[in-house]
Symmetry: C2
Subunit: 205 residues, 2 copies
């Protein structure tokens, strides 16, 4: 038996209960840390789960940024410097990744506060997370304001990817579970994964 | 040791390898079936994984629709009738859910072709998937064209939710793993999940 909730009933709940419910209702999400740096060289690291694959040719990946008053730094840094890294999160990095969501004083890097390690690659200013086995670099392409609630869809184009050879299958597929990449649920749930099937391209007989 | 790939190298791969690589690189996603009906009463069911939580107040959920020439029906039906259902996918529904991505002749419902069961609720025209333990209904709010590649961000507002009582925690969190909801990876990978932690709201001491 299912419980049935109208939106009127959901809206009557306190804001934390409502947010947890709605955020988990839409299912598991990508668990990603976005690394940026501002014009003064101060790095920033923030946890994001609303990541979308937009297309492979050109290779475009988007994420949802909350309203600027709630989450200003990542988007500001991306617009200032033009590049950002995305780093998938494993079980051993999970607690530190979660802590990046706390509100630290201005001018303090989340790398320093959480103990995750900044990794720089020649030619790129944006910091990677050294502990992450799967990392990629995006170039800022477009920010689309979502006027319904003040959020933003931020779109980047893939520039480079850094992945363990042992998770890459012949057809390009990356089996992320092999290096313990997690999936997230809402803003508090962290889940490990296990492959149950990989199905061929669906065709009508 | 990581393999390093520049975008130039990734672009040199055949299109299937490139698409698998880029699509899996961005991490695990929601595994959702979107149910719609057109003005003539023909139902449609399609698998989507690029679902984003946009906000809880108002309760807005978005998804990415591919270019119209590749995936016309879901978006057309949503714009025609104004409402659509989202149905999370379990292990036992996984093969059927995957088959909704095949290209069937015009006028044939994916419900019929895959054997998933249409479920209708009084007052709403859009079909739910009876086999799905976690379902919700959205009202169409806005479609935002993404000009960079011809895709669309489709935004709906939550109208009602149907969830098993036993997965709902006191704080509103839905532990989807308890009813075997899957997460997807790329367009071919299906993974089950296991909760490893639920962490409290991160605060600076």
């Amino acid at each position: 038996m299912k419980s049935t909730y109208s939106i009127a009933e959901i809206q009557s709940w306190d804001r934390f209960t409502r947010a947890n419910f709605i955020n988990t209702l839409s299912g598991f999400k990508s668990l990603s840390l976005i690394g940026t740096v501002n014009g003064k060289g101060i790095s920033n690291l923030a946890i994001f789960s609303n990541i979308v694959h937009l297309g492979a040719d050109p290779a475009l990946i988007g994420f949802i940024n909350r309203p600027l008053e709630a989450a200003p730094h990542t988007l500001q840094n991306i617009q200032e410097t033009g590049f950002y890294t995305v780093n998938l999160v494993t079980e051993s990095m999970c607690n530190q990744a979660h802590l990046t969501s706390a509100k630290y004083p201005e001018g303090v890097s989340e790398f320093e506060m959480t103990g995750l390690t900044e990794e720089y690659r020649e030619g790129w200013k944006a910091p990677f997370v050294e502990e992450s086995p799967v990392q990629y670099l995006l170039k800022f392409e477009q920010v689309i304001p979502i006027e319904l609630n003040g959020t933003f869809l931020v779109i980047g184009s893939l520039q480079a990817a850094f992945v363990p050879a042992e998770i890459q299958e012949e057809d390009g597929f990356l089996d992320l579970a092999k290096v313990e990449i997690l999936t997230s649920l809402g803003t508090s749930g962290y889940y490990k994964t296990e492959k149950i099937s990989k199905l061929p391209y669906a065709k009508v007989k």
